[in-house]
């Protein structure tokens, strides 16, 4: 089906259903219930799932397949966002201009950075990409381009947004002043009440979801293609690859640019959801976050990065919303002394301490579960003696890609 084998097609269907039904699936708890805080089915969070999912899928084509660890992918994300906002400023708020522009700009930038960075490998490659991204950040954050051209390009610390004085050549009189797709406002939403439940369907989210599905489909095709096999060959043994008559350079550059295009798309979508952007989107911690998502989910697997992106964005929302009162509520069943100790231990990890949780979880995953969530799922599957336990070596080719 669609050029996929049975197993991949099933996986693709699952992702389609999850993406399209997310507003329902992610709101399993009634609005007034005690567990409503664990709902994730509101637009901003679902958008983040989809956008970071796209970002991580793209990163995974580079890191998961070739093993080249880029620490500078946020540069493409930021470039995509800037390009999108510039399209708003020049033409109008229709994302039909913004999103292609963000993909193209990120693509061009990734050709440039990739061409230079890929002349080195291993740790040098990581540091080169990091240096490039930091340079892009400095350029964006102090608007160096603007100083050359005499007009703000990235608008420095303030960030880039649309002003009334902007040309907006294609903006009709009284036209929509929010991102839209052929006048379909991306902020439009419909709420449906169903018993105690409430589900929100937003146009913007569905735009992201469709791009997520397309991105995921493309990534399956790439994983299963001869090109994908060549990328895994790069990771496995570059020496043998060269002596087999294959030029690893263009393969690497192609992988790098593809992941840059994905990041550009994600950046464009970010600007489509919220039509402004700033330099901090390019800071190296943002690049680190992309790396964390892929690893946490399971680098080199198809679904892993999507899961990783979802897990991190969800944890971020839940953990940052926790506070001592909620913790006390959780541990109320304990004797008072123990309750206080438990809360005191967890206190640094919640609320503003979300990054501590993230760092700790990440370390634990790298140490004990290098395959991430996907490997964890497989181990649990095997533990319960499902099909996993009887898996024969014939599965060896397919399992890493699940």
């Amino acid at each position: 089906m669609l050029g996929l084998n049975g197993k991949d097609f099933r996986l693709f269907l699952i992702v389609c259903v999850m993406a399209l039904a997310a507003p329902i699936l992610l709101n399993p708890f009634p609005v007034d219930g005690a567990l409503a805080q664990f709902n994730a089915g509101y637009p901003a969070l679902m958008q983040a799932f989809a956008i970071f999912g796209i970002l991580a899928i793209g990163f995974n084509i580079l890191f998961g397949l070739t093993g080249y660890l880029s620490f500078g992918h946020a540069a493409f994300l930021g470039a995509g966002s800037y390009a999108a906002v510039w399209m708003y400023k020049l033409f109008n708020y229709n994302v039909i201009f913004a999103i292609p522009a963000s993909i193209i700009v990120a693509g061009l930038l990734s050709v440039l950075i990739g061409y230079v960075s890929l002349r080195r490998s291993g740790i040098y490659f990581s540091i080169l990409t990091l240096a490039f991204a930091q340079m892009m950040y400095a350029i964006a954050y102090s608007d160096l381009l603007g100083r050359f051209f005499g007009t703000p390009i990235t608008n420095g610390e303030t960030g880039l947004q649309v002003y009334n004085s902007d040309p907006q050549f294609l903006l009709a009189e009284g036209g929509l002043a929010e991102p839209h797709l052929f006048t379909l406002n991306l902020n439009n939403l419909t709420k449906i009440q169903f018993g105690g439940w409430e589900f929100t369907f937003e146009v913007g989210y569905y735009l992201c979801a469709i791009f997520l599905i397309l991105s995921f489909y493309l990534s399956i095709r790439i994983f299963r293609s001869p090109f994908g096999m060549m990328l895994r060959a790069v990771k496995s043994n570059q020496n043998r690859m060269n002596y087999t008559g294959l030029d690893s350079k263009p393969y690497m550059l192609a992988a790098f640019v593809i992941s840059g295009l994905y990041a550009g798309l994600a950046g464009g979508l970010m600007a489509a959801m919220d039509p402004l952007t700033g330099g901090e989107r390019m800071f190296w911690t943002a690049s680190g976050e992309i790396v964390l998502m892929s690893i946490l989910g399971g680098a080199g697997t198809l679904i892993g990065p999507v899961l990783g992106a979802g897990a991190i964005k969800y944890m971020e929302k839940i953990v940052s919303a926790l506070n001592d009162n909620i913790l006390h509520g959780w541990f109320a069943w304990m004797p008072d002394g123990m309750e206080n100790v438990a809360v005191a231990i967890l206190h640094p990890f919640v609320g503003k301490g979300w990054h501590l949780t993230l760092g700790s979880v990440f370390m634990l995953v790298v140490i004990f579960l290098p395959g991430g969530i996907v490997e964890g799922g497989q181990r649990i599957g095997r533990l319960f003696g499902r099909k996993g336990a009887t898996q024969t070596p014939t599965d060896a080719t397919t399992t890493p890609a699940e």
Partner: protein, 252 residues
């Protein structure tokens, strides 16, 4: 005129003359061995042949074209495949994938952006790879991850990866180095099989006399970076100069 012609190649490393005026001709359809004591310049010569080193002077022609200054992948695309001392394979990939990659390289060249096609739909390549695996008796292992193969099978796989490209010249760099006796025998037999079935031209850089004399049709003896003699094995065995320079008194 041989398929591989090395003419007047010199290479110095600082004060050391690694190769001095090397002339060598490998005839099409023969197995040509290059032997010599440690430090005779065998590895340097090999590195020149595969494009890793550029000699200070001289020429290396393969099939009428110069190989000098070309990258390893270009030299492979010209028709030279190489077997390494320790098998270089794609350890994380399956046996089948290991064989398919050289098939793609042969068919599509050094780079092709075939990112949307599915590997599973490449019937021609799959058949070709399966045929090759059957030829080296590894078909039943095609789904195994290459790193889990035995040492002997890894060597066999690497040979198969080279052979499936149907090279004009197969370069072997001490293919039995560090092997146990039984493995060495197996490798010799495998190479003999390849020789009789496919008639592939081979150049072997080797240390082990056993291997050399049971395979080679012509032998070049290298000493201190210069070819000492070149002849058929029978003549080399008894050659006084060779005894003196390389074999010593005890070994033959």
């Amino acid at each position: 005129m041989g398929i591989l012609e090395v003419k007047g190649v010199n290479k110095r490393f600082g004060g050391l003359q690694a190769l001095g005026d090397v002339n060598l001709s490998v005839e099409e359809g023969t197995v040509h061995a290059i032997i010599g004591p440690n430090g005779a310049g065998k590895s340097t010569l090999l590195n020149v042949l595969v494009g890793k080193l550029i000699p200070d002077s001289g020429s290396v022609m393969f099939d009428g074209q110069s190989v000098l200054g070309r990258k390893p992948f270009e030299i492979n695309q010209m028709g030279i495949s190489r077997v390494f001392q320790t098998p270089e394979i794609f350890a994380d990939l399956t046996v089948m994938e290991n064989i398919m990659i050289p098939c793609f390289a042969k068919r599509d060249g050094a780079f092709r952006m075939h990112a949307i096609e599915s590997v599973g739909h490449e019937k021609g390549i799959i058949e070709q790879a399966e045929q090759m695996l059957a030829d080296v008796n590894m078909l039943e292992k095609h789904e195994m991850v290459a790193s889990s193969l035995s040492r002997g099978d890894k060597r066999r796989l690497e040979m198969a990866m080279c052979l499936v490209q149907d090279p004009k010249l197969l370069l072997l760099d001490e293919p039995t180095a560090g092997m146990a006796r039984a493995d060495t025998e197996n490798t010799i037999n495998l190479l003999k099989e390849i020789r009789t079935q496919r008639g592939i031209t081979m150049a072997i850089i080797e240390h082990d006399m056993n291997v050399v004399f049971s395979l080679a049709e012509r032998i070049t003896v290298l000493a201190q970076g210069t070819p000492l003699v070149e002849d058929v094995p029978e003549k080399i065995k008894g050659h006084p100069k060779v005894r003196e320079a390389y074999l010593g008194e005890a070994q033959v």
